[in-house]
């Protein structure tokens, strides 16, 4: 509603945000703001994450037991809520990644048959 679509950015596919969050946290616990920017920067600013949609996703993952949340102190000495992967989350991420690989490969074949055929 408030952010205008930007033509050279790609909106996230439904459901992929969860995977990206899990992937980001593979490097260690982080708070919401950091996760948002990590995703954006990791994709070289191509992926547009509506930061507002990050928080419901984080809480949903906590509820599903894929993440755990803990209050901590951030690098600049501020109180913040830190999220980290649970073992269940790790397993889920592995599953999702391989599913994702298969999916991208399949889509790639359809979109660019000449390149993937070789």
């Amino acid at each position: 509603m408030s952010t205008e679509p930007n033509s050279d950015r790609v909106e996230l596919l439904q459901g992929t945000l969860d995977m990206l969050i899990l992937r980001t946290l593979l490097f260690g616990p982080a708070h919401g703001h950091a996760i948002a920017h990590a995703i954006e920067q990791g994709s070289a600013d191509v992926l547009q994450v509506e930061h507002g949609s990050l928080y419901p996703a984080l809480h949903r993952l906590v509820r599903q037991g894929l993440l755990a949340a803990k209050d901590g102190i951030s690098e600049n000495n501020r109180k913040a809520k830190f999220y980290r992967l649970t073992p269940k989350g790790c397993k889920h991420l592995l599953n999702e990644s391989s599913k994702w690989d298969r999916l991208t490969e399949a889509i790639g074949r359809i979109m660019r048959p000449s390149e993937s055929g070789s």
Partner: protein
């Protein structure tokens, strides 16, 4: 899984704390987290070189709508029911805040709804008690009544004889069992020497308990063989109440109960919940039909095909429609007519549901329910128009709030839910407030007494069904008139809503809508008031009417020699002895006997005046009448206008005579002298010897009704009521009279022992007062609602036009001009409403005339009172806002925008 579990637990604990914190109004972790994000992002933007305002704005932009993000996060965090509760709680709090901000608006809406629901719940309880409550049996909807239809004026009933029942049972295939029920009224006693109480019981076929689907809680029903041989099996099943009255002995089975002087063996006790096979019959006991001729001493009960005394009930087979069953019954009726021409000629067999029977048999109740329904519906419509009007007047305000909330990111679904919560809150408040109102009306209705020991007494209750009904009414009206407009405002175009604010152009449609609302409100208020005034006048008229029969210094009791299986001669001797002894009693001025009490009942009598041409196929008509003794007219103060009354010399050996009332005389012999004319009375030529003044026969407010009096000595054995005129206090004569009867025969069943004063107040005065009070209250409610509603709508339309008024005054209109304009424009819909209302009232009056036994009409006087009253109220409602408008300073009005 360990860590995940731990996370879950801490999460739940955190949520619990958060949920509790909602009550303490602490900032919750979710908002804190989002706040944290905004701060970090702002800081980041500052580092990137933005100005502080830019930085904060960009951060918010990046996050998206704060309110929605917070909400969605909370929802995701909790998932499931708790969020739902949380949100409901928040919506409720918001709703209460909204209401608290506009107390006048809220109060008016809630009170309007309370009036609407209260009136309807009271009406529903009344209708429920009188007509609607289903039979206390499993699957009551299947039960139907079958038999020959008889009509008597406005009344109609369905009866069958035992022999016809057997034929219908044998030839029909549409029913899952058919049972036949006959009412038997006899004294019942626990043993031979205890005093018998006269009770109505039922003689039923053995399958009665199976067809009803209700079986005794104690013991058993009748075995098929117990209903096969006439007079062999004297077994009895008691009602729960009778069993209680006999001491509630758990070992009662096998003991003896004496009914009508015959010893029966108790084999069962019915459950407390089973009041009886239909609304009117609450049998105290059940005996097999094979005992019926024994207890009545009349073999004709079972042997006479024209003994129309049984109710036949059955359950319609599944997948069989009423229409199919009716077609089958038509065939059976044709068969019966062929086989038994003398008794079954023109006897059509019909099928009817319980509700249909209740309506057919209780025209007075039905009419009362119809009137109350009309009135309470009118109250509801006016109340709803009020709420709708108020909501309309608030719509611009509301649409601004909604636009604001849409702008900060609230979803449409979310807003609609909020509005739904608010509406329900209002409905709930209105409904709850309506209950005491309903309760008061029910208490009022409960004052109605039934001066008959054997009569059915409607049980008025504010039960769950009534509560449910009230909630449905309240919710329905709020949703219809509140939510739909509210949802429309969520479609608001944000830009225009903000720009134009409250001065949004009224628009043609909205203008029409408001005028229509006003007209509807006025129209229905008018109907409500006319009906109220009309009914009030009808009853008040009756109560203060010229005395049509004597209402004091009479002691009464009903005797039942049939209970002792007296022969006709024995009964006649008993009555003669009774009259002689009562007349000799000190303090008694006169004594008479009659089968009916004034305003309390009648005997159906087939009449055919000599020379009167009936429509083809009809040879007689059923009229109302009673069988009386000499000095009846003197004792009850009913004047003989011409000719003579009934004399002691009118006996079975003298010529047959009858006395008719004014209406009957005028009906069949207009402008002629009926005295000396002949009339067929129950098939015998009878001479008219006198004309009596009209009295009231069935209902205190009935219209003039045909009625005739026949000497009791010229007809067979009857139960008669003794009327003893007393010199002093009539209550003081009750005991001597009771003793006198006991001296003649200690076993004579006597019931309905009461004074005329009590009878009249219970039968007429109290009902009249209660009905006038209720109807008056409804009229008053309607008037109040109309006043509030008119005022609100008028004020609103004036306030919407403040600017226009300012302009008009600025260009030279003076205050009088402005006021005249406002009042004139306000009055146009009011006048339209009055016109519509007059038409509707005329329609309602037509309806009342055809269904209600009222001897009154909505006269010009009623219209003449009500229409100007409403006009005056509308004028007042328009005047005050108009004056306010005229006092507007044009400059302020213009600057205001």
């Amino acid at each position: 899984m360990g860590p995940a579990d731990g996370g879950d637990r801490t999460h739940h604990a955190a949520f619990g704390k958060r949920f509790m914190s909602r009550f303490k109004r602490d900032p919750d972790p979710v908002s804190a987290e989002i706040q944290d994000y905004l701060e970090r992002e702002t800081a980041r933007n500052l580092e990137a070189g933005m100005s502080p305002e830019e930085a904060a704005f960009a951060a918010r932009r990046k996050l998206g709508p704060v309110a929605r993000v917070t909400e969605e996060t909370r929802e995701a965090a909790a998932g499931g029911i708790l969020t739902w509760i949380e949100m409901l709680w928040r919506d409720l709090r918001h709703g209460v805040r909204m209401f608290a901000k506009n107390p006048a608006f809220t109060l008016t809406c809630v009170v309007s709804l309370a009036f609407g629901t209260g009136a309807n719940v009271a009406m529903f309880s009344g209708a429920d008690a009188m007509l609607l409550r289903p039979l206390p049996v499993p699957r009551p909807g299947e039960i139907v009544r079958v038999g020959s239809a008889f009509t008597l004026g406005d009344f109609s009933f369905i009866r069958t004889s035992y022999l016809n029942y057997l034929d219908i049972l044998q030839q029909s295939h549409s029913f899952n069992g058919l049972t036949a029920i006959a009412t038997v009224t006899y004294g019942i006693a626990a043993e031979e020497h205890s005093t018998a109480q006269v009770k109505s019981g039922a003689a039923v076929t053995a399958n009665f308990f199976d067809v009803m689907g209700v079986h005794p809680v104690l013991g058993r029903g009748f075995r098929p063989e117990e209903d096969q041989v006439r007079g062999r099996d004297a077994v009895i099943v008691l009602s729960y109440a009778t069993w209680q009255g006999m001491g509630a002995d758990p070992k009662i089975l096998g003991r003896v109960a004496r009914v009508g002087g015959i010893d029966f063996t108790v084999v069962g006790v019915m459950p407390e919940s089973f009041s009886g096979p239909d609304r009117d019959a609450k049998p105290a006991f059940y005996i097999p039909t094979m005992m019926w001729p024994v207890i009545t001493g009349d073999p004709g009960t079972l042997d006479d095909r024209a003994y129309w005394a049984m109710d036949v009930k059955g359950r319609l087979r599944q997948a069989i429609t009423e229409r199919q069953a009716q077609a089958e019954l038509d065939t059976i009726a044709a068969n019966l007519e062929r086989a038994h021409r003398d008794t079954n000629r023109n006897q059509r067999l019909t099928i009817a549901t319980e509700l249909e029977m209740n309506i057919r048999q209780n025209r007075v109740y039905t009419a009362l329910v119809a009137i109350l329904t009309l009135l309470s519906m009118a109250v509801l419509i006016v109340a709803c128009a009020n709420v709708a009007g108020l909501l309309t007047s608030r719509a611009p305000l509301r649409s601004r709030e909604i636009a604001l909330r849409l702008a900060i990111g609230a979803g449409r679904a979310r807003l609609i839910r909020q509005l739904l919560t608010e509406s329900s809150l209002m409905a709930l408040a209105g409904g709850v407030l309506g209950l005491p109102l309903a309760y008061i009306s029910i208490q009022l209705l409960r004052q109605i007494q039934f001066p008959n020991d054997l009569a059915f007494v409607p049980r008025l209750e504010l039960d769950q069904r009534a509560l449910l009904f009230s909630m449905v009414i309240a919710m329905g009206s709020v949703i219809l008139f509140g939510l739909i407009p509210a949802i429309q405002t969520t479609r608001t175009n944000l830009a225009t809503a903000f720009k134009s604010g409250s001065s949004a152009e009224p628009g043609r449609r909205r203008f029409w809508g408001r005028n229509l609302l006003l007209a509807v409100q006025v129209a229905f208020s008018l109907v409500l008031l006319t009906l109220s005034v009309f009914t009030y006048r009808a009853f008040a008229g009756e109560l203060s009417d010229a005395v049509l029969f004597r209402r004091d210094h009479i002691a009464m009791m009903t005797l039942r020699p049939r209970g002792l299986r007296y022969t006709d001669d024995q009964a006649k001797q008993f009555y003669q002895m009774l009259l002689d002894r009562v007349r000799a009693l000190p303090g008694v001025t006169s004594a008479a006997l009659s089968t009916a009490k004034p305003a309390g009942g009648m005997d159906p009598i087939a009449i055919a005046p000599e020379g009167f041409h009936f429509p083809p196929g009809q040879t007689s008509v059923i009229a109302a009448g009673s069988r009386i003794s000499e000095s009846y007219f003197e004792t009850l103060g009913i004047r003989i206008l011409r000719g003579r009354g009934i004399a002691a010399t009118d006996t079975s050996s003298s010529p047959l005579v009858t006395v008719v009332n004014e209406t009957l005389a005028e009906h069949y012999w207009p402008n002629q002298d009926p005295i000396g004319r002949r009339i067929l009375v129950d098939g015998r030529w009878t001479e008219i010897v006198g004309i009596a003044r009209n009295s009231r026969y069935l209902f205190p407010t009935e219209p003039p009704t045909d009625f005739l009096y026949v000497p009791y000595r010229q007809v067979p054995l009857l139960d008669l009521t003794l009327f003893a005129g007393t010199a002093g206090d009539s209550a003081g004569m009750i005991e001597p009279l009771r003793k006198l009867v006991a001296d003649i025969n200690a076993n004579m069943p006597v019931y309905n022992i009461q004074t005329m004063e009590y009878y009249y107040s219970a039968r007429v005065t109290i009902i009249g007062h209660v009905i006038t009070e209720i109807i008056g209250a409804m009229g008053l409610m309607g008037l109040t609602l109309a006043m509030i509603g008119l005022y609100a709508l008028m004020s609103y339309s004036v306030s919407r036009r403040t600017r226009e008024i300012g302009v008009r005054m600025a260009v030279g209109a003076d205050r009088t001009n402005v006021m005249t304009m406002i009042v004139r424009q306000g009055l146009i819909p009011v006048l339209a409403g009055i016109a519509i209302g007059l038409l509707l009232s005329a329609g309602a009056a037509q309806l009342l005339r055809t269904s209600f036994p009222l001897g009154y009409d909505i006269g010009p006087a009623t219209y003449g009172t009500v229409a100007p009253l409403l006009l005056f109220i509308a004028l007042a409602a328009a005047y005050f806002p108009a004056r306010r408008a005229a006092l507007v300073d044009p400059m302020t009005a213009l600057r205001d925008e």
